[in-house]
Amino acid sequence: MATGNKQIDALARQFLKLSLVEGSVSPEHVTGVLAYVEKHRPPHAAAVLKAYRRLIAAEIARGQAVVEHAGPIDPGVLSAIAATMTTRYRRPVTSIARRNDALLAGLRVRVGDDVYESSVAGQLGALADAV
């Protein structure tokens, strides 16, 4: 989210642009940006870095399918999800698994700010909303 200070936001966004290689975040470039900030100390460096962190986090989330699951999960499922999301969003999407027993059963996949819900907990919630 924007901090409301235009200069800080603009600088953070510029850093973000510098950190991307072919649409995904490059760790080397991020290190480069951090080194630059360390050396030149732009005004409000801490605020700029905070905004920059949020932008990078959002960017990483866009390229990563976080698969929440209850119980064991097959690596084949993970790679299938990554492939499906890559075609759906037309950008490289990798997938990582995260255990969440509160789901009861099924999966919840989060890519950026989209959530795909097929967990039993989610269905029960939807059912509760509908009645």
């Binding site: 989210m1 924007a2 996949v109 989060r110 700010d113 989209d114 959530v115 939807a126």
Partner: protein
């Protein structure tokens, strides 16, 4: 066989575990009824969003990486980091006959403690106003029951007539009188069984008013038996600005249902000044650039898109709007008044001076106009009251002159005399609308000089006595005027005779 069943069952299982896609965001900040949300990349403008505790919001500001939402409902349950979901729906409210007689909030939820509302349909709160093709010109009257208005500033169905004036000049009273009058006409018309009779249903939208005022209105409507034809949408001053901002649009949606289903409706927005203030508050919190009087740039659009929804539709019904604007010290050139004046089809201007002089309703004849309504005025009113507006305007001018000298010629004196009688005649207590046929009778008596020998101070009493005489003794004649809506030779003779009969019995 069992394999077939298995196959079907598998298919069902696959269907029921089908993933649902939701677009989400995270609350970053909540302040003054507005939530700033990160994410929600798919949200549409004006879309409803769902907060975790059941509160809903409307996305009003879509920016590159954040969304500004106004929150409807309890904001105290929200906190930073909460997940918000898009719903894919625009905000809508229940509509239909089931709402008649009820008081609801800006979202259409009942607040009158009379139980749930069994509405079958919902209409979106924001809707594009009817276009040019489907509109019909205004040609059917909508009687307010206020003599000064029905005879000089007539209103037609589908018209938008602004009621404007300072604080406490009787703006609300005029609107309530009009609603009461519709109820009275509805009762007579529906009882008559005339298939061509078109009842008018009313919607009263109270924005930013004190609860005590809303209750007063409610009680007045109930006492007059008008509540059963009325929906009250209440967004009182203590309500959050988002609800105050939405209430007029919700009311308009309820009115549109009547219009779309071939019925006529009347909607009162009381008042749009407070509505603009609520919108200004939201806009300032959303950090939209502010312009004149700190209102945002689109405050004109705020009211134009609302008032454009009033219309008379080809082959359907109509929605008549009576927006109310409060002025400060009679200043109609302030930002919001000029805006709304330019969108409406005329205005009823109420003056503090007149009100304080006891001339109530305090309608300023010179400054009030109705740009389309005269096409809808019935012939009988035109016959007896056609010249009144000019005469009264002239009277005001002469009265100003008369202050300077006492040696006036006989003609001027006669004009002044007549003018002051007309002013007296138009005085009318609150919540006491007069049926149009009775108005015709009173104005006929005026036109034919039946009040000339009455002392000016006693005109009010004389007019009251004449009304009572007609109401109690000349029912048939009144019904005839109502049904024919024009005075022919025969009716005029009868009216003349009736007036003479009254005059004979009246002792001032």
């Amino acid at each position: 066989m069992s394999t077939v069943l298995e196959q079907i069952e598998q298919q069902i299982a696959r269907l029921s575990t089908k993933a649902v896609r939701k677009n989400t965001g995270t609350i970053r900040a909540v302040a003054d009824g507005v939530a700033k949300i990160e994410g929600l990349s798919d949200v549409m403008y004006n879309e409803m969003v769902q907060f975790p505790a059941g509160a809903i919001g409307i996305a009003l500001n879509l920016e590159e990486d954040e969304v500004g939402c106004v929150v409807l409902g309890d904001i105290s349950t929200l906190k930073e980091g909460d997940e918000v979901q898009t719903t894919g729906r625009l905000l809508s409210v229940p509509v239909g006959r089931a709402l008649l007689g009820r008081t609801v909030d800006a979202l259409g939820n009942p607040v009158d403690g009379k139980g749930p509302i069994a509405a079958k349909e919902n209409y979106p709160v924001e809707k594009i106003a009817p276009g040019i093709i489907v509109r019909q010109s205004v040609s059917q009257p909508l009687f307010t029951g206020i003599m000064a208005i029905d005879s000089m500033i007539p209103i037609g169905r589908g018209q938008r007539e602004l009621i404007i004036g300072d604080r406490g000049t009787g703006k609300t009273t005029i609107a309530i009188d009009t609603i009461i009058n519709q109820a009275k006409i509805n009762k007579v018309g529906l009882a008559s069984g005339d298939p061509k009779f078109r009842p008018v249903y009313s919607i009263y939208v109270a924005v930013g008013q004190k609860n005590s005022n809303i209750v007063r209105t409610l009680v007045a409507l109930e006492a007059a038996g008008a509540l059963e034809y009325t929906i009250i949408v209440a967004a009182p001053a203590a309500d959050n600005p988002a609800n105050q901002y939405l209430a007029p649009y919700s009311g308009a949606a309820m009115g549109e249902w009547f219009m779309e289903n071939g019925m006529d409706a009347l909607i009162v927005y009381d008042d749009l000044s407070k509505h603009a203030v609520a919108y200004r508050q939201i806009s300032l919190i959303l950090k939209r650039p502010s312009g004149r009087e700190a209102y945002p740039g689109d405050v004109f659009y705020l009211h134009s898109r609302l008032l454009e929804r009033a219309a008379r539709l080809e082959g359907k019904g109509s929605l008549t709007a009576l927006p109310i604007i409060e002025t400060l010290a009679g200043d109609v050139s302030a930002y919001i008044p000029t805006n709304v004046i330019s969108i409406t089809d005329g205005q009823i201007f109420l003056e503090t001076d007149l009100f304080n002089q006891g001339i109530r309703p305090a309608v300023s004849v010179g400054l009030s106009v109705s740009r389309v309504g005269s096409a809808a005025q019935i012939k009988a009113t035109k016959q007896v009251g056609g010249k009144l507006k000019g005469e009264l305007a002239q009277f005001r001018e002469l009265a100003a002159f008369a202050q300077f000298g006492s040696d006036l010629d006989a003609k001027t004196k006669a004009q002044l005399d007549r003018g002051s009688r007309i002013v007296e005649l138009f005085k009318q207590p609150a919540f006491n609308p007069i049926p149009i046929e009775l108005q015709v009778a009173v104005l006929f008596a005026m036109q034919k000089g039946f009040f000339e020998s009455v002392d000016v101070k006693k005109i009010v009493a004389a007019a009251q006595s004449l009304k009572e005489f007609f109401a109690t003794r000349k029912d048939a004649l009144l019904a005839e005027i109502r049904n024919r809506a024009a005075l022919d030779q025969d009716l005029e003779t009868k009216l003349q005779a009736a007036c003479a009969e009254w005059k004979g019995a009246f002792t001032a």
